[in-house]
């Protein structure tokens, strides 16, 4: 198996049964902008029948956007898509399906409590039989389709009772039963075990033999060598490399993925760490994980791929989700943080990743949001809020952090993203938190607002607060942090000095390349 994979990776000739329907799916100079971001800028890309074309890049490089354009979820702003030289217009998921383009997303699109057979023919039950749907017929057809992929899944079982890997197979089977010629897979191995990954790769190899063109998106570079023929690297919405996997070294690929210019988007920082404020010892079972230590006046960055478990770790730390046996020491004493309220009372606050879903009460005013953490302190007898003090505190923060709004009584939903983010942060500062976790604090806010956020982070650390910064923006993380921890598959696998490291080194650890290189 291993030598076989290497052979393939070297691009040795192999038998290939080209499907008569096969053709080249190609994107020509595709561009797509979202408010404030140029997601794709003139990207050309193609996939041929019977090949696996890997698409890699940092978080936010434009991979998902590309996928969404191909699957008809978003229209492109400019550029053409062709199949075998003929231009096609993909203006909806149904059209994509009809053209033979199927997407297997990370979140599987199956109806959990329907049977495998029902899922396979969802929306096209009529193909099985008109009028009443005969279960016998349906199951027989389903067994055929599954059998074609060499699967022995019982078609009568509800999908929810299958494992993730089997569910994925059902989705692939569904795509193929719809005569998909191009299969786009978004991080298909993210939730699989080692053994299941092998199974998936076998199936992918078989599909390639059958002439299916596969676009394979992954963060895990070690996988590319095993299954991909070609690789294209996206960075900031543009193609920076495209070529045969056999012709390029993995280290070079990493260098190509990262290396966005840092420029002067970041205010200068002089690290001045004080005493240890927070220490989180990993659960004993995580043997390769190290303790996280945060000092006063320090900005500690957590680097990792999306889904590496940084956000989950932060939620456990503040007691928002149940702990996994980590031991937390705050101001030198061991604490068991049972709830976000407990964390708040200790002086640990979190600005969550999902600003609107988890950070703000959108139906309330700026003032109400800012003072939400200190209602108990604003109370006079009988639980009455001292409205004057509330307004004073709120105005003071609005002025100091230049939260731009007509006045602090307006609905927080009317503010821009950057100002909303400041409101979420401010509510923890109002509570005088000593440790603050910022989870993707600059996501979706414009460049000017980002700079303000960085300045604010520096100010906080000057005041002696400890900041934990979670960000998928590597230049930001490296520039704004004093020290970095690298999270890989839930473990804190490395600690780096942010002054001395490079984006490349960080990415090497984050993508698990260190493991692969060592093993």
């Amino acid at each position: 198996m291993a030598s076989d994979a290497v052979d393939r990776a070297r691009g040795l000739p192999r038998a290939r049964s080209v499907s008569p329907a096969g053709g080249v799916l190609a994107l020509h100079v595709i561009s797509k902008a979202f408010p404030g971001v140029q997601a794709l800028a003139g990207v050309s890309f193609d996939v041929r029948p019977g090949e696996v074309h890997a698409l890699i890049g940092e978080n936010g490089a434009g991979k998902s956007t590309l996928l969404k354009i191909l699957s008809g979820a978003h229209p492109a702003d400019a550029g053409r898509i062709t199949i075998d030289g003929r231009e096609v217009l993909i203006d909806g998921p149904r059209v994509a399906r009809r053209l033979g383009i199927a997407v297997i997303y990370q979140e599987l699109a199956l109806v959990p409590w329907l049977s495998v057979a029902h899922n396979l023919f969802l929306g096209r039950e009529r193909e099985v039989g008109r009028g009443f749907l005969s279960l016998k017929q349906l199951h027989a057809r389903a067994r055929d389709e599954l059998g074609r992929m060499g699967l022995t899944i019982d078609p009568a079982v509800p999908v929810a009772e299958l494992g993730i890997a089997a569910q994925q197979m059902v989705e692939i089977a569904r795509a193929l039963s719809e005569d998909a010629r191009f299969l786009l897979m978004d991080e298909p191995t993210a939730a699989l075990t080692e053994h299941e990954v092998d199974g998936l790769f076998e199936k992918i190899a078989a599909l390639r033999q059958a002439g299916v063109g596969i676009v394979y998106i992954s963060h895990r570079l070690d996988e590319l060598v095993r299954i991909a023929d070609r690789v294209t690297v996206l960075r900031d919405g543009a193609v920076v490399f495209s070529g045969r996997v056999a012709d390029v070294a993995l280290g070079d690929l990493i260098a190509k993925m990262v290396g966005r210019p840092i420029g002067d988007h970041y205010p200068p920082r002089t690290p001045a760490p004080g005493v240890e404020l927070l220490r989180v010892e990993p659960r004993p079972a995580a043997r390769r994980s190290r303790a996280v230590v945060v000092h006063t006046g320090e900005v500690v960055g957590l680097a990792g791929l999306v889904g590496a478990g940084r956000t989950e770790w932060a939620w456990r730390l503040v007691g928002a989700s149940p702990g996994r046996g980590e031991r937390v020491f705050f101001q030198g004493r061991e604490v068991r943080i049972a709830s976000p309220r407990h964390a708040r009372d200790l002086g640990i606050g979190m600005v969550p990743e999902n600003r609107k879903g988890h950070g703000l009460i959108l139906s309330r005013s700026v003032r109400d949001n800012i003072t939400l953490t200190i209602l108990d302190r604003l109370c006079r007898w009988g639980g009455f809020v001292d409205a004057e003090r509330q307004a004073r505190v709120s105005r003071q923060y609005v002025d100091h952090f230049r939260i731009r709004c007509p006045h602090d009584g307006v609905g927080v939903d009317t503010l821009s993203g950057g100002n909303q983010q400041k409101v979420v942060l401010t509510k923890w500062l109002a509570r005088d938190c000593q440790a603050i976790i910022l989870d993707e604090p600059t996501r979706g806010i414009d460049v000017g607002a980002k700079f303000e956020m960085y300045t604010l982070i520096n100010e906080l650390s000057r005041q002696g607060k400890a900041v934990i910064l979670i960000s998928s923006d590597l230049p930001e993380l490296v520039s704004m942090s004093d020290r970095l921890y690298i999270v890989h598959e839930g473990d804190f696998v490395a600690e780096l000095d942010a002054r001395r490291t490079s984006q490349e080194e960080v990415m090497r650890f984050a993508s698990g390349y260190f493991e692969w290189a060592a093993g």
Binding site: V318, A320, S339, P340, R341, A343, R344, D345, M350, P352, G357, H358, G359, L360, I361, L362, S363, R364, D368, L372, T373, L375, D376, L378, C379, G382, G383, F384, V385, A387, K427
Partner: protein, 316 residues
Amino acid sequence: MSPSPGRWFTQVLARYGSIVMLVVLLLGMSLATPEFSKLSNLLNVARQVSIVAIIATGMTFVIITAGIDLSVGSLVALTGCIAMTVIDRFGWDYVGVLAGIMVGGLGGAANGILIAWARVPPFICTLGALTVFRGLALIVTSGVPIIKFEGSFRYIGQGVVWGIPVPIVIMAAVALVMQIVLRRTAFGAQVYAVGGNEEASRLTGIKVAWVKFWAYVICGLLSGLAGMVLMARLSSAQPAVGEGMELDAIAAVVLGGTSLMGGRGSVWNTLVGALVIGVLNNGMNLLGVHSHFQLVAKGVIIVLAVLLDAYLKKKR
């Protein structure tokens, strides 16, 4: 840049829609029938509205937390039956009335515990409670109304202060106090926060479960109070009374422009909503609309009003 008149008009409508609706209705009814605008009739409308308005005030708290309480109508009956039993057996009017209100609070607390901690969906939980409370009311009275034409308890339903019927005074006092609780206390702020975004509230350190619990307790207590007023007005406890009252209360809240999604709303708006329903009922009675048609008209108007409200808010 001043907004165009049309835009200004939609903004006013969107913001003060329920009040505009009430004023239009009041004017329309006055023109349609001279009987309507007589002081005695207006007081009559207010008194008729008072019971639903008191319940709807509690319902406002529950709905702002993005919940619902379907059990209030049954609770009105149950609290009345228990209070009257105490009054009838022992002749302790005050104790009876207090007991009735307390039972309301307990009923609300039962709902609150199941919803806040056991996480039973509010609709299901209070739907069950609706049946349970009605059944308890029938058990307490053996299904027979208790009628009592004397006793000081009747004052809260039939008394008059400075020419104003006591139920109206109670309604006004409840609305005033509860509006202050909602707007001026930390608890009120937390009610809005929990309804606006439960997860954000939890992450901010608000005791979400307790806030929900107290919202249902308040709703129960006020249902109990409404039960006392109704019992006193009728000079009797009737286990079958209050059926469908939960729907009137919810309609009042919704007509006030409060979203069932939670996070928004005020007691004032609910009061206006309750008055709209009262004026509709009264006006149609005076106009001689057949009661069967009244039901249809009322339902249609409620849905139209909410549609219009949603449309205007979107436009704004």
